[in-house]
Symmetry: C2
Subunit: 79 residues, 2 copies
């Protein structure tokens, strides 16, 4: 079973990396880009086939290792 975790900075937390991308896109002539936020995506190959259990387990992984929940939000998707 595969799980995908998407981790983004919370709204309101400054994202200098996203800002740098926005600036670079402007420099390359891409107009109309009003905002950019960059985050991480982590794809996990999991043993087992219980989707609900997997979702709980992956949420625990996020809380304890994958995300910094002070400044980041995460979402879990079981594929």
């Amino acid at each position: 079973m595969k799980a995908r975790v998407t981790i983004m900075l919370k709204d309101g937390v400054l994202d200098p990396q996203g800002e740098a991308i926005r600036h670079a896109l402007g420099g390359l002539g891409f107009g109309g880009v009003e905002g950019v936020r960059q985050g991480k995506v982590i794809e996990l190959d999991l043993a087992g086939s219980d989707r609900a259990a997997a979702e709980t387990e992956v949420a625990k992984m996020c809380e304890s290792l994958l995300a910094n929940t002070v400044i980041e939000k995460y979402s879990v998707e079981i594929l």
Copy 2:
């Protein structure tokens, strides 16, 4: 309009960051994690409302700046 770009290393390209996460999860007692790949996600706020045009534009951004297409693959999603 929002677009989400997901950038992952191509299959077969070594992902030391993902490997480090897998190792750390094992150390924290999370069994059953058979593989981990880490990638980037970039969320763009775009002006305009033509979805097809936006998708083409974002694909061009990926080719010219966001992704290193030698070792990375990307997917574009218009939200």
